[in-house]
Symmetry: C2
Subunit: 472 residues, 2 copies
C-alpha cells in the first residue's frame, strides 16, 4: 500500500508541474534514476509513477530517449475543418503565389517557416559527407559505369529491406530508383494517364502536384480531406467514374499532416482495385512518425499491383541528393522503359551513399533522433501557437511529418498578409498555394523541422502577435 | 635550288613509305627534328618536305602533337548510299532487336563494337575522381542545397564560355542543365510537341530518339540523309507541312557520322524559321572533330530562338555522371518550369565537377588528346576494314565522333548474323536498330572509341573474315 501511495504521490507532483507549465509540452522529463534519487524511492516506484502519467496521456516514452511531456491539461485550439472543395467552382492554379514564395526562399534573415524541407541542422551532414568521400574513392568503374535504368542494386535492396518494417513485402526487383520523389510521381503519372485525363488528390494538396498535373494536361479533382484521417473515401467513391488515377499522401500528408487509418487504407485499395483506378502513393513522410511504429503504406493492401508506392530521402535525409524511388506494381516495365528513354540512368555515387547509410551508416539512429526532435518541435510549436496566436485559430494535430496547418480567423487573408509578414522577416506558406480553388485563404502551413531555440520561439510568437495585430 | 631538290627528295621518300604501307594510315610521322637529323638537312627543309606531303593530303598536322599519315594512295571502299527511307512503308520500331543488343552489353569477353559510349581507357578518370573528392570536401551547404531548376551557375557559365568556340553566343542565362543529353531532348520534345504530332529525323537515326518519340505518342518521319553532308534539306521541305518539330544531329551524326556544311545549317534554320518549326539540335559529338576547328551548331544561325541546342558530357568525358544541357531559345521558361515540376533540381556535385574540369581541369587538353586518338583509330579501322572485309563493303567517312557506318553486301543480314557473331565474341550494332522501316538490314555501326591494340585489330579482322565466310 505504501508503494502505491508513493508512486501516486510522485505522479501527482509531476502532474502539477505539467499543469503549472513548469514542465511544458515537449520537455524531456528527468530520467527514472534522477526521480528515484530525488524522491528517495525505488526504481520500480519511479517506473510506476511514469506509467500512471503515461496512462493519462500526459507523458509519452520514446524508445532509447526517455519520457516527454505530451500534452497539457487540455487542448486549447480546435482542429481545422474538414475541407469541402467546391469542385464545380472555377479553377485557377496559384502559380503567381507559388513563384512569389519561392523567390523569398533566397532572402537572407527571413525566418523560413514556409520551407518544404528540413533545416540542415537536423540532418546528419557530416556523416553523409564522409560517406560521399569514401564511396567516391572506391566506386567500381570510377562512376563512369552507366547504372541499369531500374537503378542501383544496393540501394534497391536496402529500400526493400526497410519496407519490411511496415509489412511492405518488396524485393529489390520491385523497386525502381528515380531522381527524387517528384520524378517518381511524374513517371507514375506518365505511365497511367494521358492528356485530358483526370486525377483525384487530397485538398489541400502539395502544390507541386497541381502544377505537374496541369503541365501534363491533366484535370484535377480535389477531394474533401479530414485533418486527422485523410482523404474522404466516400467522397472519392462518388466521383470515381470520372477519375483515371489518384495521387494521395497516405501518411502525414503535406500540408495537413493527416494519417489514414489502416482500415481506410484497406478500403481505399479495395475500392480502387474494384474500379481499376491506379493509385500513386506518395509516402515520403512515412518514416517520420511520432507514434509507436511506422504506419503502413496502402501498398501493403495492394494485391492487384495497382498501387505505385513512391518515396525518397529529400524529406528525411538529404534533399540535395535527389534520390527517390517507386515500387510501381504492375506498371514496373513501363516505368523502367520511360526512365531509360528519358534519362538513360542516374549517377551511381549518391545511390551508393544512401544505400551505405541505410545499411551501415546509422539511418535508423538518425531517424529515431530526427523523429524525436520533430515530435518535440511539434508540441512546442503547438504550445507557442496556442499562447500567442489569435484565440479562434484552429491547428492541425499531425502524428508525424513536419508541417502544421493553421486555419485562422476568416478575416485574415494569408495571401495578402504574406508581403507584410516578409517585411517583418517572417515567412509562411499561404493556404491558397495548396489548392486550385478559391479556398484556404485564411490558412497557412508552417514548417517545424527547424532548429528550436529562443530565436525560433521568439519568431513564432512574433508571427502570432502579427496576426493578432491585424485583427485589432 | 639545292634546297628545293632536297625537300622534294625527302618528301618522296616518305611518300614511298606511305604507298608501300611502311607508314600506315594513322601512324605518327617522326618529328621534324628526327627527319632533320636522319637526312642531315635543315629544320626548314624538313618543314618544307612535310608541307609538300600535307598539300597532297597524304599527311596532316595535329596541333601540339605532330604529323600523321592521313590516307594511302587512294580510298578503296565507296561511301554508303544516301538513305532513301520509304516513308509510306510500314513502321515497326526495332524494340526487340535493341533489347537484344542491350543484353549483350553485360556479356564479358565480348568485343563491344556495338557500344554507344567511349571506352573508359580513353577518359580522364583519375583526374575526374580527384576532382570529385576535392569538390565533395568543399561543397557549399554540403550538397544539401537544392540547386535552382535551371542548374548550377558555374556549369552554365562554363558551357556558355565553351560555346564561344563555335561562335555560339550564349550567356549563362541561356543554358539549362539537364540530367544527360537524352533528358534535354526529352524536355525539348515535351515543350514543343503533343501526342499525335510528327517529328522529322535523320535516317538512319539514333534508336533512342525513335523509342522516345513512340513513348510520347509522336509520329516520326525519317528523312533521306547523305553520309557526309547530313540530312537532305530539299526532302525535308517537301514534307515540312506535316512536321511539328525536327530533331537532328548536325555534327557527326549517330550512326553515319555526317557533318552538315555551314551553308546547309544556315539554309535549314532559315527554312525552319520561315515555317515556324522548332529544331532540337543534338550536338553531343560536336567537340570530337578531326578537322581544324569545332564545327558550328545550327544554333549559331538561329535568330528567332527556335533552335534548342542540346549537349552533354556522356560522349566526351563522363558517361556515368549524367550531365547534359540545352540552350532552349524561346522555349527556355517552359523547359525550366517542366524541369522544376518533374525533378525539382539536380545534385550539385557532378555539375561542379564538370564546371571545374572545364575551367581548370584540362578539358581542352583531354579533348585534344581524345580527338587525336579517335582520328587515328578511325583511320586504322578504315584501313583494317578495307583489308579484311568483303571487297564490296561501303564505309562512311566521318569527320568526327566515334562511329563508322558500314553497308555490306545485300545478302548479309546483320540482324540475323548478330547472334552468330556473338558466339565468336564479336558484337556490332545492326543497321535495323537505327530505323523504323525495313531498311539498313545489311548495315551496321561500329564504335572506334576503344583502345587500339593488337587484340582490337585482331578482332576487327575476325569480324571482316566472319562476313567474308558467310558470303562464301
Amino acid at each position: 500500500m505504501e508503494k502505491e501511495v508513493l508512486y501516486l504521490k510522485v505522479a501527482r507532483i509531476i502532474e502539477e508541474q505539467i499543469f503549472s507549465e513548469t514542465l511544458r509540452i515537449g520537455d524531456k522529463l528527468p530520467s527514472l534514476r534522477s526521480i528515484q534519487k530525488l524522491h528517495n524511492i525505488s526504481l520500480n516506484t519511479a517506473k510506476q509513477a511514469f506509467l500512471e502519467l503515461e496512462s493519462k496521456s500526459l507523458i509519452d516514452s520514446r524508445p532509447r530517449s526517455g519520457y516527454y511531456v505530451s500534452k497539457t491539461s487540455q487542448r486549447k485550439f480546435a482542429l481545422p475543418s474538414i475541407s469541402q472543395p467546391d469542385i464545380l467552382g472555377k479553377e485557377k492554379n496559384p502559380d503567381g503565389l507559388i513563384n512569389k514564395i519561392y523567390d523569398t526562399l533566397n532572402y537572407k534573415d527571413i525566418r523560413q517557416f514556409s520551407l518544404g524541407i528540413p533545416d540542415n541542422s537536423l540532418l546528419p551532414i557530416a556523416k553523409l559527407n564522409k560517406s560521399v568521400i569514401k564511396i567516391a574513392r572506391n566506386l567500381e568503374g570510377s562512376g563512369m559505369t552507366i547504372e541499369p535504368a531500374q537503378g542501383n542494386i544496393n540501394l534497391r535492396r536496402n529500400i526493400a529491406k526497410w519496407a519490411l518494417l511496415f509489412e511492405g513485402k518488396l524485393s529489390e526487383d520491385d523497386v525502381v530508383i528515380t531522381p527524387g520523389t517528384m520524378s517518381a510521381i511524374f513517371n507514375c503519372l506518365m505511365a497511367v494517364t494521358m492528356r485530358g485525363d483526370t486525377i483525384g488528390v487530397e485538398s489541400p494538396v502539395y502544390f507541386g502536384i497541381l502544377q505537374l498535373a496541369k503541365s501534363m494536361g491533366l484535370n484535377v479533382i480535389e477531394l474533401p480531406t479530414h485533418p486527422v484521417l485523410g482523404v474522404d473515401i466516400e467522397a472519392l467513391k462518388k466521383v470515381i467514374h470520372k477519375i483515371n488515377a489518384v495521387c494521395f499522401v497516405s501518411n502525414f500528408n503535406n500540408p495537413m499532416g493527416s494519417l489514414m487509418p489502416d482500415d481506410n487504407k484497406r478500403m481505399l485499395v479495395e475500392m480502387l482495385t474494384y474500379y481499376n483506378v491506379p493509385m500513386i502513393e506518395d509516402d515520403l513522410f512515412g518514416n517520420l512518425y511520432f507514434g509507436e511504429s511506422r504506419p503502413k503504406a496502402c501498398k501493403v493492401f495492394d494485391e492487384a499491383g495497382i498501387v505505385m508506392w513512391c518515396g525518397g530521402v529529400s524529406k528525411v535525409l538529404a534533399p540535395g541528393y535527389r534520390v527517390g524511388w517507386v515500387a510501381p506494381g504492375k506498371f514496373k516495365n513501363k516505368i523502367i522503359s520511360q526512365k531509360l528513354l528519358q534519362t538513360v540512368s542516374m549517377p551511381t555515387l549518391y545511390q551508393e551513399v544512401i544505400a551505405d547509410f541505410m545499411e551501415f551508416g546509422g539511418y535508423d539512429h538518425h531517424l529515431r533522433k530526427f523523429r524525436q526532435t520533430l515530435h518535440t518541435n511539434c508540441l512546442k510549436y503547438q504550445r507557442t501557437i496556442e499562447e500567442h496566436f489569435p484565440p479562434n485559430t484552429k491547428i492541425s494535430q499531425p502524428q508525424g511529418g513536419f508541417f502544421l496547418w493553421l486555419e485562422l480567423d476568416k478575416r485574415l487573408d494569408t495571401n495578402e498578409l504574406f508581403d507584410l509578414a516578409i517585411k517583418q522577416k517572417l515567412s509562411f506558406a499561404p493556404g491558397r498555394m495548396f489548392t486550385q480553388h478559391n479556398q484556404f485563404n485564411n490558412c497557412m502551413r508552417l514548417n517545424f523541422a527547424l532548429h528550436w531555440d529562443d530565436n525560433l520561439e521568439h519568431d513564432l510568437r512574433r508571427l502570432g502577435e502579427f496576426f493578432k495585430k491585424v485583427l485589432c
